[in-house]
């Protein structure tokens, strides 16, 4: 299955990329998407995650075609 991964703001700069396409062979979670896309084992608690533009927790299931985004605390307004 194919998953689109996006990074924003400071995280985007630190990782040196804003998006990537990930191929996974089985059912996966947000945490696994993070590990595969960044090669970092831990998802820091201050990194927020969204699947298809909705906030989710790290154990949220990810399906074929989903867009998964990771970003630091928001600072708008």
């Amino acid at each position: 299955m194919s998953i689109k991964v996006r990074f924003f703001a400071r995280l985007r700069e630190q990782l040196g990329q804003s998006e990537m396409d990930l191929s996974a062979t089985a059912v996966t979670t947000v945490l696994q998407v993070w590990q595969q896309s960044t090669r970092q084992p831990e998802l820091a608690t201050n990194i927020l995650a969204a699947v298809n533009m909705q906030y989710v927790h790290a154990d949220h299931a990810v399906h074929d075609g989903d867009e998964v985004a990771f970003f630091p605390p928001v600072t708008g307004g």
């Binding site: 703001a9 906030y55 985004a69 605390p73 928001v74």
Partner: protein, 151 residues
């Protein structure tokens, strides 16, 4: 109800005047309008800031703001809501965000406006990167949370 993200300069009074001209169906119903305008300051955490880059997550930012408006409408009797948020490059004194709430009664207009601003700051995917007077840049780390902050 309308939310929008714009990379063009935000001109609150013109925005409000234009938006209100479409509100003919609300004639005679509005008793209270509350407006919040957030503006870029030339200092943050005691350091001079010369400009700011506002990044967002196209699609999710708008969806998030729409959800917040829906929550406000579910919670209070509101006649209309407008939210406009700037992205891109801003200079001090530039408006960043406009939140306007129209209601029959002032208690609801005040409460809903405050709620929308707090939730926007806590949840809307937007990020500020500041350029300091020494040309260095820094990402703003975190908005002060909740109703008791003074930012």
């Amino acid at each position: 109800m309308q939310v929008s993200i714009t990379s063009k300069p935000l001109m609150p009074w013109q925005e409000l005047q234009n938006y209100q001209q479409q509100q003919t169906a609300l004639y005679g119903q509005v008793g209270a309008t509350t407006i919040f305008i957030g503006t870029m300051r030339d200092i943050n955490e005691d350091v001079a800031v010369t400009q700011m880059e506002l990044e967002h997550y196209p699609g999710m930012t708008e969806a998030c703001l729409k959800q917040l408006v829906q929550q406000a409408v579910d919670k209070w009797h509101l006649l209309d809501v407008l939210i406009v948020h700037r992205v891109g490059l801003l200079k001090p004194n530039d408006p960043i965000v406009l939140v306007a709430v129209w209601s029959a009664h002032r208690a609801e207009a005040y409460a809903a406006n405050r709620f929308l601003m707090e939730e926007l700051k806590a949840r809307a995917p937007l990020w500020k990167k500041e350029t300091l007077s020494n040309q260095q840049t820094r990402w703003v780390e975190q908005n002060t949370p909740g109703h008791h902050d003074a930012d």
